[in-house]
């Protein structure tokens, strides 16, 4: 499986895993699992549109996922975050269904676009993918401090001049870029699994944020390498292994959390309840 044929796959997946680990750390911190699923999924419409006009499918996907990022960010200012994401994804998918209806063939590319293709990236596509990945990582490192503050204590962050909606938009754009570069290999439906599972598991192993991010990358690499190896040897789709290994990785994290002695939560501390404003009305 290490033939020259497969080297591209290993390299591409390594880049993808590193990016997913880094971006995933904040995805899990901010509870943006839905957005991480919605953006590449909805961006499928862009791929369909692109193939209609004969343009590169991935490019169309990228453009649409960026549009999706703006849509979610804008709608988030009007509605609850998950409602905003839901509205954005159905709008994008609705467009996708329109574009799909205009072609009559279900190209085999659809399967690989949805579920991934180990050999999805050619040699000449490695460099652009690496570049986008590097941009994503650089962006995360650049935004690290204000994004952390905004994610942990949004109120004090706002008071310090860090506008939540700007951080949100910036982060969604990073998710859009990160998922777009990974789609050819992992597929739109499963890239988000790489974003959330390793980072979720990493949390159980450390209290330090930097270490958690490092572990997130490590777990992502492990997950992806194992997925390639299994996919190659069993000839089953890589998406299958990504999804299942994601659940396994998460389980490992949960298991570890069960082993760690945690300080008990005192009754003083209340958990955020279900959002009240939907029923009661805006608070002052």
């Amino acid at each position: 499986m290490f033939s020259p044929f497969m080297i591209n796959a290993w390299e591409a997946c390594t880049i993808i895993a590193i990016v997913a680990g880094v971006v995933g750390f904040f995805t899990v911190l901010r509870g943006s699992a839905f957005a991480a699923h919605a953006l590449p999924n909805g961006a499928f419409a862009g791929a369909a549109a692109a193939s209609l006009i004969g343009a590169n499918a991935i490019l169309g996907l990228g453009v649409f996922s960026l549009l999706g990022a703006f849509a979610i960010a804008n709608l988030s200012r009007r509605a609850r975050h998950d409602v905003a994401t839901a509205l954005a994804i159905v709008a994008m998918l609705g467009l996708g269904s329109l574009f799909l209806s205009m072609t009559t063939e279900y190209a085999p590319e659809i399967y690989s676009l949805l579920f991934g293709e180990v050999l999805g990236i050619g040699t000449n596509e490695l460099l652009p993918a690496a570049l986008i990945g590097a941009v994503c990582i650089a962006a995360i490192l650049f935004l690290y401090r204000p994004l952390m503050l905004s994610s942990i204590t949004p109120d004090t962050a706002e008071a310090r001049g860090i506008k939540s909606h700007r951080m949100e938009l910036a982060f969604l754009i990073v998710i859009a870029l990160a998922t777009t570069m990974a789609v050819p290999v992992v597929g739109t439906l499963l890239i988000f699994s790489l974003l959330i599972s390793p980072a979720a598991a990493a949390r159980s192993f450390t209290n330090k944020p930097a270490t958690a991010m490092g572990l997130s990358v490590a777990f992502a690499l492990g997950m992806v390498w194992l997925a390639i190896a299994l996919s190659y040897t069993t000839n089953l789709p890589i998406g299958f292994y990504v999804g299942v290994l994601g659940a396994v990785t998460y389980a490992v994290g949960r298991g570890r959390a069960g082993w760690r002695p945690n300080r008990t939560v005192s009754p003083n501390q209340s958990e955020p309840t279900a959002p009240v404003d939907a029923l009661i009305g805006p608070s002052r």
Binding site: M148, E158, V265, R284
Partner: protein, 277 residues
């Protein structure tokens, strides 16, 4: 109690601020000042508008009229001179963030890039943790700390950047009496040491009586400010509320009690708010 005031310049001026939200007027023509190093209690019942007023000062809510001056200058987007401890802190126990990480973010969280660990930065964080008596849980996950411990971390987070004014939104709510006293003593001590002015909102002024320099009392959307003796009196508060209230002193505690139905209503306009000379 008069606190040692190193810098006697005025740190906060609220002038003629009115705020309407969702069509209702929450605050009307509110004015008061805070001098450097003063400890001010922002007192009012729940829903009186204390949080709104604090959010106006922080620049999170736009007043419909009036202005807020910080150290003489108009409120700008980010004001390093103000530290803020919000009312609801609720930190997620799943977040891999230590107490000392959160305090560290108070130092440079608004700057881009990654925090660069340095001996000096660590020393500052250690010093702040020590000041709020949080050293023993500095390495623990913030979400696992008790409510009181999280509050202390948030105070450290707000103070580490050496602001000149500290705003605390209802820090004493839901605390037992002993914890109330501890928090008040802690805040009073640190802010006196660092010569930071304090604006602390509460619905019960009694825990603050020992340390307050002046009080800003919020009722019916209006405000009266001055010393406790001046403001917390039957005459002043009755005028503020627009109906009769009684102020009762029991030992060294104060109770504000609503008057009876058939008391004569004063239709006089409340005096314009006073502030100390």
């Amino acid at each position: 109690m008069v606190r040692a005031v190193g810098r006697s310049s005025e740190i906060l001026a609220v002038e003629g601020v009115s705020v309407s939200l969702s069509g209702r007027e929450i605050l009307h023509d509110v004015s008061f000042r805070v001098e450097g190093g003063e400890f001010i209690g922002l007192i009012g019942s729940n829903g009186a508008g204390k949080t709104t007023l604090l959010r106006v000062i922080l620049g999170l809510v736009e007043p419909t009229s009036g202005q807020v001056l910080i150290a003489g200058k108009a409120r700008s987007r980010r004001n390093p001179l103000i530290g803020y401890v919000p009312q609801k802190i609720g930190l997620d126990p799943d977040m891999p963030i230590r107490a000392r990480d959160l305090v560290g973010l108070g130092l440079d969280g608004h700057r881009f890039g990654v925090p660069r660990p340095s001996a000096r930065r660590n020393a500052l964080i250690d010093e702040m943790l020590e000041a709020v008596d949080a050293t023993r849980f500095a390495e623990d996950r913030v979400g696992n700390l008790s409510g009181g411990e999280q509050q202390r971390i948030m105070i450290a987070h707000a103070l580490i950047s050496r602001p000149r004014l500290l705003l605390l939104d209802e820090p004493l709510a839901n605390l037992d009496i002993r914890s109330e006293q501890e928090v008040v003593a802690l805040v009073a001590r640190i802010t006196a040491e660092q010569q930071v002015a304090v604006l602390i909102s509460a619905h019960d002024m009694n825990p603050l009586l020992p340390v307050m320099d002046r009080v800003v009392y919020v009722a019916a959307g209006r405000v009266a400010s001055g010393t406790t003796e001046e403001v917390v009196s039957t005459e002043t508060l009755s005028q503020l509320y627009g109906h009769h209230v009684d102020v009762i002193h029991v030992n060294d505690r104060v109770l504000v009690v609503a008057g009876r139905e058939n008391d004569v209503h004063h239709s006089v306009e409340p005096n314009s708010p006073r502030w100390s000379a």
